[in-house]
Amino acid sequence: MSNIKRYFREAANGAKHCVKTMFHPNVGFDAMKWEKQDNIAFCFVILALFFFVNIADQVVTGFIFNTYNPDRISVPSIFLISMGGVALFFIANWSVSSLQFTEGKTKEIFMVTCYSLLPYTVFEFIYIAVTNFSNNDMIAFMTAIRIIGLAWSFIILLVGMLYTHQLSFGGTILNLILTVVGILIILFLILLGYTLVQQIYVFFYTIFNEMAFRK
């Protein structure tokens, strides 16, 4: 019980820091790096919100703006895509920064990744709410909402990575580009591994069949 209480207290503190970081990323990330403001309890709340907004996007967006077929919505696959995407970015950035010999710690990279999801998530919630009360005339306004969210997220990510890795601006950009390359390499490896496992499975399956049919 006390554990849960402690978690909530930590999350509340993290939320305070996070909100401050949204409006003053320099101050917030500086505190994260040098003043031990690095509790990650709130990060999991952001991840949960991000997951929910991805579901809400397909389920409760207003009819005019919702192009998803309700018969085809699958929550597990949304979970896999949203959380898997975050995990991929986190792992790729961690790997790249260890190659670049930066000062970023695992915890800090995770924090920056999660923090940068918050503006997108919040603006997407606003977007979803507004879609239920608007028609096609407001499409430019809706697009603007989403673009603002994305841009804000990207700025937070950029500043966060700048402070985490203590690289120059160009170095951070390079770090992000390499991260994208890293994601592609990881995806390729996953595909390769999947094919391999499948072939091994087929191999053993054939052997089993041979044995089974041979009396």
Partner: protein, 486 residues
């Protein structure tokens, strides 16, 4: 007990089977429409095959590789271009044999015979144009076989040096100008004036730039000249068949397509495609026909299917298939619509198949005619009838939605647009509905806001006076400052 159960089950199964046998013995195919997500869903039949007409039924020689059907509405005559037998068979609109044309005599009493003709066109004044493909010429004559003129290969500087004239299909407009498809010519239709003089190419098609072709283009620019020359050149799509609508538009189908992005075009008098929608698919259309209500019927030769669209490009029915039963085709080449029936010519079966409208098809057509004329209110009843027969029929919901929109019943309109997944129209109905809601509640909301403003102003005056009297600041009279706090 167990035995009884099994018996009941067996009887039920037998009943089910007999039902399915009945259903399938009637028509050899399943009619489809598209549901709101664009998937094919079974639909009641709009057309059923009635009979198959061959040479024997007509009382003449059997067809041999016949290529074209033509129907003249004013003269009530059907022309069958029987390519293999080098003749034009003339039928009346009940498909009874009248006579056939094989040769003509000119002024000098010389006989001119046809050689593998592939297309014919009949003007309302009785002038007959025949694409005499084998002889590379166009013959203009009267219906009783009197020759008007013979138009051989047109001459012009605009035509290529190694241009080969192989006219296969043609249409003629009101001013007797001809639009001709010459096989192997991809620059467009050949546009001839009344005397057979070449005017220009008409309605040149676009080159489809698919991903593969873009890559090939890059290779072409990199490779040395000799190697680059061996890469195929990209030509515009060649036309396959023509149809002239009553209002003077030339409908043309594509004879071959790389990505199936545009299987049919509607050319205006300038030769520009003005079809308001795109018909896509990995397939080829061999013919097209437009009825007086703007309903477009296309004949798919690859899959032997007939597609019927309304004037806005919404699929009404698709039916047919490859096979040998009546109603299925081997190589469907031409299609006409006579008195609401469809007639499809098959050049391998050498028969004409007659399709008649079913009750359901008539219902749909009635509703669509009213709907396309803009008589939305009158179309409510027919559309409701259609949707009671087929709850998956998307067009009925769009029609009902538009009807209720016209009647200013926006909530009902929104309900039907939602069923039809028609987002643009739903948005319009939603806008109107919300405008009405805003107008209705405006006075109440405005009054509440004014009252609130007055209350706030009065309260602020009261607070100010209190503060002056007691020397406090802001709202300290309510929220007292904590003493001894942090």
């Amino acid at each position: 007990m167990k035995l009884k159960k099994i018996l009941v089950m067996m009887v039920t199964m037998l009943l089910c089977m007999s039902v399915s046998v009945f259903a399938s013995s009637e028509v050899p195919y399943q009619t489809y429409t598209l549901d709101k997500w664009g998937n094919a869903t079974p639909s009641p039949n709009g057309y059923v095959p009635q009979r198959s007409i061959g040479g024997a039924q007509l009382g003449c020689k059997d067809f041999s590789g016949a290529q074209d059907l033509f129907y003249s509405e004013t003269l009530k005559l059907v022309l069958v271009t029987d390519t293999g037998n080098s003749r034009i068979v003339v039928l009346n609109d009940n498909f009874e044999f009248q006579y056939e044309l094989t040769s003509f005599t000119n002024d000098k009493n010389e006989e001119i015979t046809l050689n593998k003709p592939e297309g014919a066109y009949l003007l309302d004044d009785g002038t007959l144009y025949i694409c005499d493909t084998g002889n590379q010429r166009i013959i203009s004559c009267t219906l009783d076989g009197k020759l008007n003129s013979v138009l051989s290969t047109p001459e012009s500087e605009l035509l290529d040096e190694n241009f080969v004239y192989r006219p296969s299909k043609l249409v003629v407009d009101e001013d007797n100008r001809m639009y001709i498809i010459s096989k192997g010519t991809y620059q467009g239709l050949i546009y001839l004036d009344t005397n057979g003089e070449f005017i220009r190419y008409f309605g040149a098609n676009k080159v489809e730039m698919t991903f593969r072709r873009r890559m090939l283009k890059i290779w072409k620019s990199i490779l040395p000249e000799k190697a680059a020359a061996s890469i195929q050149s990209f030509n515009p799509i060649e036309y396959g068949n023509l149809y002239m609508s009553n209002d003077g538009y030339v409908f043309a189908t594509a004879a071959g397509s790389e990505d199936g992005s545009s299987l049919m075009t509607k050319l205006n008098p300038l030769g520009i495609d003005v079809l308001p929608f795109k018909i896509k698919g990995q397939s080829l259309f061999s013919d097209v026909s437009i009825d007086k209500n703007g309903i477009i019927t296309c004949l798919d030769t690859t899959y032997g299917l007939i597609f019927q669209y309304d004037g806005n490009g919404k699929l009404m029915f698709s039916f047919g298939g490859i096979g040998s039963q009546v109603g299925l085709f081997q190589k469907a080449v031409s299609l006409i619509e006579v008195n609401n029936n469809l007639y499809v010519l098959d050049s391998e079966k050498n028969t004409i198949t007659e399709f008649t409208l079913t009750q359901f098809g008539e219902m749909v057509k009635d509703a669509i005619v009213l709907y396309d004329e803009g008589k939305y209110e009158e179309s409510i009843k027919p559309w409701e009838k259609v949707s009671s027969h087929n709850a998956n029929y998307l067009l009925s919901y769009i029609g009902l939605g538009k009807a209720y929109y016209q009647l200013k019943d926006y909530d009902t309109a929104m309900y039907y647009f939602k069923l039809a997944n028609d987002r643009a129209d739903y948005s319009d109905a939603f806008r109107e509905a919300s405008l009405i809601a805003i107008r209705a509640s405006f006075t109440t909301v405005a009054l509440i806001l004014i009252a609130l403003a007055i209350v706030i102003i009065v309260l602020s005056i009261v607070v100010k006076k209190y503060n002056k009297k007691h020397g406090t600041k802001g709202l300290e009279m309510i929220f007292k400052k904590k003493r001894g706090g942090k």
